[in-house]
Amino acid sequence: MVDITIKKRSQTDAVVTQRKFFKKTARGKVIKVLRERYLRDDVPCGIQDCQACQGPGMLPSAGESAHPSFSTGHFVLPDTNVFLSQMDLMESNLFSPPTILLQTVLDEVRHRSLPLYNRLKALAKADDKRIWIFYNEYRSETAIIREEGETPNDRNDRGIRKATSWYQSHLPRGRSASPSHQPKVVLLTDDAANRRKAEAEGLAASSVRRYVEGMKDATQLLDVLVSVGDDAIEPTRAVAARSALYSEYLPTATVLAGVKSGQLHQGHFNANAYNYLEGSVNVPAFAKPILLVGRENMNRAVNGDVVAVEVFDETEWKAPADEVIDQESTLKNDDAEDSEEEGEGEEVLGQEKKALRSDEKARPPSEKQPTGRVVGIIKRNWRAYVCHIDTASLSTTLPTSLSQQTVFATPVSRLLPRIRLRTRQAPQLLAQKILVTIDRWPATARYPEGHFVRALGRAESKDAEQESLLLEFDVPYRPFGRAILACLPVEGEGWVVPPKSAAAPEWRDREDLRGLTICSIDPPGCQDIDDALHARQLPNGNIEAGVHIADVSHFVLPDNPMDSEAAARGTTVYLVDKRIDMLPSLLGTNLCSLRPHVERLAFSVIWELSPDAEIVNVRFTKSVIASKAAFTYDEAQLRKDDVHMRDELTQSIRLLNSLAIKLKAGRMAAGALNLASPEVKIHLDSSESSDPIEVEQKELRETNSLVEEFMLLANISVAKKIQDTFPQTAVLRRHLPPPRTNFEKLQDILKKRKGMTLDVSSSGALAASLDKCIDPKEPAFNTLVRIMATRCMLSAEYFCSGSVSRDTFGHYGLATPIYTHFTSPIRRYADVLAHRQLAASIAHAPLHPSLHSKSHVERVLDVVNRRHRMAQMAGRASVEFYVGLALKARGEREQGLVQEEAFVIRTFRNGLNVFVFKLGIEGLVMFKREIKFDVDNYTVTIPAELTGKSDATIAVFDKVTVNIEIEKDKNTQRGKVKMTLAKPVDSRNL
């Protein structure tokens, strides 16, 4: 028996043992919170073989003796600021001294920054780190209380020092070595005053920089160090003398007050991909986003930051620029080392002024947007960005030198500014993709300052590109950890549905549907089959149709490590040549996957439908099925169309198909939209090399729509059921109707260019008018308009039924009043939740308490929504990368020139935005020479004197032929699609 001693105090000690603090609630009330603290003597120190504690340990008993300053061994005890500012260093796998993490530090990090706290928690659990969390506030020797007049900061610093000194005195007790060979506990802090106090108390203390300099991997680690404090990188000489480039931010409190009183507006900063000197912020107060023009007004906001904006007087409102301004070409001559010097700056500013000039009077007032400037940052959303080193910024005198130099890193994303960083490894990093984080952006610097995190590999190598893509879209891609894999069934691959018996838990409340003729229809090569279907004629003339979904919730139980991981991943991410699973592949591709000829657990939705596809009855049940076949869309189509096939499976497919056609017709009549997105398919030559590739547009068959209709039907039926049962917390999906203003531009273009009208009053009207947008000469035109209309819409989102009003549940695109996702639980987490709620609503299993909590469901769905969006973008980016590779390969095959037909989708003062249908990519055609631009009619005219022929006018929706080249940017090694016009005029020299 372990003796547990809890020291309990009398009421009179309460002042000391109770931690009281005040909290201001969102409603502006002030609450007093009281925490009772029990002090113990048995909080373990975490050092292996410690005689005094005899607790579990993970820190080596001799400490780490590799560091030259502490040859007798040492432990590192970092203070809060180390984690707040040097998290990248702590995460680096080169930095792994045995570390003591104090509870005081952990709490303070949580209070200061939640994202950092989450990173720290993950770090403490990582396998390759030796970090012990010591609960110093609960150990009676190390607990402290705040003195009269002591600031919270001082109190915490004192607590950290006290814990350090306790460790130092605790060490000898657990060991027999002589005192001179004692390991040291080193307090790691960048606070000089704290260091002085520690040294006065006889403790070892060191600044982070000094500590890292002594390590053997110092060169690489020093790059990771964030440049803060006085002993950081030497400031540019001109800094002191130079006036600030940007206005200072208002104090946080003032900003919050301004937002609250409605004088400032809060929103996410969106950089403009076409014009680096322009950005916008969507705020609820205005229908149109607030426009930010020019560097000073964007005031150091980086894409994704939450900013506070002050709106100018209406007289100063502007329209967005109609020109493409490219950061790289405008700022080509900017030098990283000297960019802060006066002379250069003037020149650059002049260039930018020129770039920003626009004849305001020519613009119609209707195009004007609220315009303003950023006065404060509410939340920075800085993360690690994938970048290239800009070759031109490398110092020419020492191209291969290992000395420290300042270079520019150009982010892959066009939405981000260049980042200045100092590194010793510049020459090695030249052709590499690297990860860079922004540390700060002082008002005196034109560019943000950052530091190097790690190299991803050679640019254009597949691994580096893939990893950079995953990082760029924040997709968690690490392999599943041990704790997660431990949640899998112990039988592993050998798991089977046990023989039917009343005793088997798998068979409890399950219907035996093994006899049904069920089959699955999926894209070729699909391994995670989540759905299967069946249909049969009933004696009463009606038809029984069933959708059977993999019973993932049987394997993924609520609130275990696997469930939390799946919730955090949110969705499976599909890249062209890789799939990043949401669930371990044993479940996804085997145990849950409804493979043919094996028994699998399923969740079935079974309807009785009239021959006209009206629902007579629906029921939900957990079941055991045995799929009879797994078809691809093509196979199923062939089978259905082959009149000689009369077997049960084929009949079933035909029956399903006939119902699907009626269902679709019904849906269309209700006003569902037929949307389009540019989808292309990448053909990989072989899975290993994946080099020569071909791009092809996706083809849709009848069977695609068959599966889709039944999935929609299942989702709608399930949505109704769970909403009835759990009106407060049902997991649903909705698509809000787009604001009418989103369509204004498209309507205008269509009217002026094609004389067509778009009725956006309802989804049905929009569907009908989209059907009329047909150019008899150009079949692809309709699809183009559909793509453009889709871009005008909002994206669908998951939500918790109790959090929004009932009348906003509708799904605009599908024209159904209620909808959810139920049919792909292997690859979407929202479906897993829907499964659990449905299982509870048919009384199969009680609902986990967390799914009764509105706030919990909201929180989970927020993550899922974000992941979902990111996954889509990552998938698209992956396709783009491969299209680029394919183009390059084709260019080599075809000796240079690849020509494709393209549609003009947007016109600029100095260029065109075109869309290449066959490849599904957008591109910019830029003109260096003056051309005529007609804003109102969306045309550009290339004058005769430039081409030697007659004037050529190009308008939006015109079909042109473009040359496509993959051009490598000389400076950044970044592959870039470059397009030039081939027809009607050759623009290569313009």
Binding site: Q11, T12, D13, A14, V15, V16, Q18, K20, F21, F22, K23, K24, G28, K29, V30, K32, L34, S140, I145, R146, E147, E148, T151, P152, R155, L250, A253, T254, V255, L256, A257, G258, K260, S261, Q263, L264, E310, F312, D313, E316, V375
Partner: protein
Amino acid sequence: MASISLSKSEKSYIQTSLTSTPPIRGDGRSLLDYRPIALEIGVVPLANGSVRLNIGKSTHEGAGGTEVLAAVKLEVEDVVNGDGVDGGRVVCSVSCSPAAYPHLSSNALDDLSYDMTTVLNQTLAHPSLRPSNLGILPKKKSWGLHLDLIVLADSGNVFDALFMAARAALWDTKVPVTRVVEYQAKKGGAVRQDDMDVEQESGLDTRQVSRAVDFELPDYWDEGETLAGQDRWPVCVTLNIVSPIYYLDATLQEEASTPLRLLLALSFPKTEAPTLKASRLLGPGEVELSQIKALVQDGEKHAGELFAALEAKLREEDVRRNQKARDRFILR
């Protein structure tokens, strides 16, 4: 308003012994003696200030006596839409525990609570006593100070106990420090055409337009600062008048036999002369006006003594709760 009933002969017996020379009281006290007063502050940790006060706890049994619990709760109140008052307000309420008055019906208990509430609220919520640091945002938000007292047991002299407990609880009260957050639109560098419309600042314009819109807690660990005007909260002495004498700190039986009681609440500001904050005459008896003046003067003397004793005890409690507790923690 005696809360127990005595027979006429008992009343007469008590009255006679009080007026005899030398006067005789049931517990052997002289006329101007108080029973022992026990006081502990900070008993309700979640309140902003609290105290438990007992008058006349029997030394042998550790029970008995008049016992009162007082707690102060500060709440943010909205001046514009809520029931807050600009600059803060004080609200007192007294409730009597049924255990203290087992023989009273619930209606009678309510009446009694109401009577006590009226006396305390009229005295303590008076604008002349309002602490100056209850404001948060001028004309927008302020602290509402809710002083709640519970009579847990009554064995006489409950008003003195209530006022003393109220004073101790208010002494103990800490107001969280708030900082006003404001947003001032900066006039941009560009000179705007409409500049002429901007009102000229004038000395005649006494309006003070505050731009403060919200507040924050700069140090959420800190309990805050003490209420301003700590020394002004009054103490009360009850002069129980049995002509021709009066006596202090009556027990229940004595109260029941006393025809007239004079309540005097006096405040002793540090720098000013003592002021009378409230007086009440309770009971069916009569007193001549000429006597009142002498009684008030005597009352002031007794109240001054009580005030000084309470002050000393409160300071001692403060040290016990903070400095000594800390020392003990370090030496543990």
